[in-house]
Symmetry: C2
Amino acid sequence: MKPLKYLLPDDALPTHWYNLQADFPEPLPPVLHPGTREPIGPEDLAPLFSEELIGQEVSTERWIEIPDEVRQILLQWRCTPLYRARRLEQALDTPAKIYYKWEGVSPSGSHKPNTSVPQAYYNYKEGVRKISTETGAGQWGSSLAMACGMFGLACLVYMVKVSFNQKPYRRALMEVYGANCIASPSDTTESGRKILHDDPECTGSLGIAISEAVEIAAKNADTRYCLGSVLNHVLLHQTVIGIESLKQLEMAGDYPDVIVGCTGGGSNYAGICFPFLGEKLRGGRDVRLVAVEPAACPTLTKGPLAYDFGDTAHLTPLVKMHTLGSGFVPAGFHSGGLRYHGMAPMVSHVHKLGLSEALAINQLECFASGVTFARAEGIVPAPEATHAVAGAIREANRCKEEGREETILFNLCGHGHFDMQAYMDYQAGLLQDYEHPEEEIALALAGLPSA
Amino acid sequence: MKPLKYLLPDDALPTHWYNLQADFPEPLPPVLHPGTREPIGPEDLAPLFSEELIGQEVSTERWIEIPDEVRQILLQWRCTPLYRARRLEQALDTPAKIYYKWEGVSPSGSHKPNTSVPQAYYNYKEGVRKISTETGAGQWGSSLAMACGMFGLACLVYMVKVSFNQKPYRRALMEVYGANCIASPSDTTESGRKILHDDPECTGSLGIAISEAVEIAAKNADTRYCLGSVLNHVLLHQTVIGIESLKQLEMAGDYPDVIVGCTGGGSNYAGICFPFLGEKLRGGRDVRLVAVEPAACPTLTKGPLAYDFGDTAHLTPLVKMHTLGSGFVPAGFHSGGLRYHGMAPMVSHVHKLGLSEALAINQLECFASGVTFARAEGIVPAPEATHAVAGAIREANRCKEEGREETILFNLCGHGHFDMQAYMDYQAGLLQDYEHPEEEIALALAGLPSA
């Protein structure tokens, strides 16, 4: 038998998260107060976030311990398998070796529980009883719903309206887990009501949904807010992906020449890349990192690195990130999880330091890649994850053209079982490629705050 | 950390299937020719089935080798995990230890690829180029579509109409894998046209869909038929489930007092039970086996053991099985995979020999059990699998009442990601319990052929 998968025993489950902030050649720019434009302190975030998570957000410690209560839950599906995509290699007739880390084995079907479980745990431990959040495609919302259920916390999810309507079964999943899911913009918050007043047909955005969820947390003492991507502590929690992959590739006797991930807020990409990047920054092997974003929401490839708000209503602090402007509302394309106007500050910083590449791919190529992958490997990727598949296939084709036997690693961050409508539309020829008009991007960028 | 899962290394993947026919205290009754009512020979089945599969159907060899080409594919997701359901035990406050074998990690989401892969392989090896089949809930159809794709075979799936309409995304999955999926009854076959002529509104049944698929294979020389349950060779292929579970429970230092599975055609139940039953019949430990069927299609609990046809149009041979009559059309309840009028001859024989118990559970209890399970364990079971969950919860509650620390093992044969409409309907209070009227069952039984 040729080895197809690399499994780790339970005792290989990481005991610590890896914090790239310890190894940055220059530190992250500070987070600024939305009013004073001065660097903020932990007390400014306290109404919104758990104390422990605020500490992790600013920590420069290299290794941060994962609580046993969290590891006990992660152990159910972690360590996740690393696969050698032998049938895909054959289908592409490439000399490259393709590996993928498969995060879809979590009960909610994506990498998101890696952070939803610790976020729910810390909040539970600190006496919080209710969590509010936003979700795009629903992967984050259902993962947080699951984690909240495990710790007995109430969970309120604002789901971007276009996804809420496209994906009733994601909502059903959240409800099976016991959460309450509301289409955003909604009339349950001031931010939502204001947006609906200006545009009753608004299909929503992650920025708007964040405003609604943040408002609920800010106004209710027993409620805290959780975010599924972008923030430093979220990226930190996702590093279990890369830490495990390092060990698994060692089992395979291999090391990646290039790592590919899809980027929305940036967390699954950071999760697989940062541990490898840390090795490199500490004098280890070089590795190319390639972030693939949708052409319809081209944060890294078309947005400047600038201070901006995380949400539309400007309730959050200002962070320095690649951004299309907090007023940017992407087209209702199907990769709901990749619709965020900004990019994680840490991923943006890595990009600025020249440590990673970015490319934007349009959706028809992504779905075609998803179908190619499904027919070869059996697994149907989430529309978000097809961007990573498309990027990996481009690399494999380049290897074929150049006759190079490189090692490609990509993160397959979730399955597409709740996204079959998008595949049906694709197969019926109903989907089109889409690029946001340059003038609209310029308009959104003109509204950037000056720091 | 308390162990939650028991994983086996790749080299523990079974090399042989276990054939219970070798250990039966009395042999299976013969299969009869539909015309002569005499025992049939391999030549009678040759137009429909691969030669190798016909051989396995009648073999009484105890161990049958799994081809390397099949093992190479199964290796992608096998050995599947065995879980200790610690959080469910806690939620039920039971002294029982509950283990479940999790077959939903296969790419198509159920145990079905355990047999779709070898069936596609043998047909491919024998020069067949096209496969026809039927599917209920769609788990079998999508699993066969995946396997056919891997061997480059065309795949034609007749899907029971009620499920076809309830589950467009299952069909989309088959199409992603490259299969052609048709609602049954259809106008593409004589059997289908006849049924539509008599009842244009007919919602279909597995018996009807089998007639259509068998007719296509019988009429086309390059086409063979594959079945997803019921037959001896299908049950044989599923024994990897129980063989692995035996090893995994040994790792856990445990042995089941009772094994619970859901039964439609009987294959996943046989898959987990038969290897344990074989141990018992060869002088090993005793174990209770409990088959759970839907109250709306109560084959084992209300159907007699009798010779009957496998399909509605009476194209198949006669097999001795528990049956509600081949004219039985179950109500359009949601467990599409459990709608078959008969029960696998081997499972029926085991039942007749007093080696297993059966109980029928209604759907509201099953969905309630599914939600309890999902909130505790994170995994949303397929509606079919909720019958096994409900049966296991009944056993755990009995253990609590009796104060017994028994060990319960059940087979969680698939996830419910394509069945969320059923969960939505359940949560909205739209589902009702349903039992088929006794007089309708009596009427269907009156049509049984005399052997």
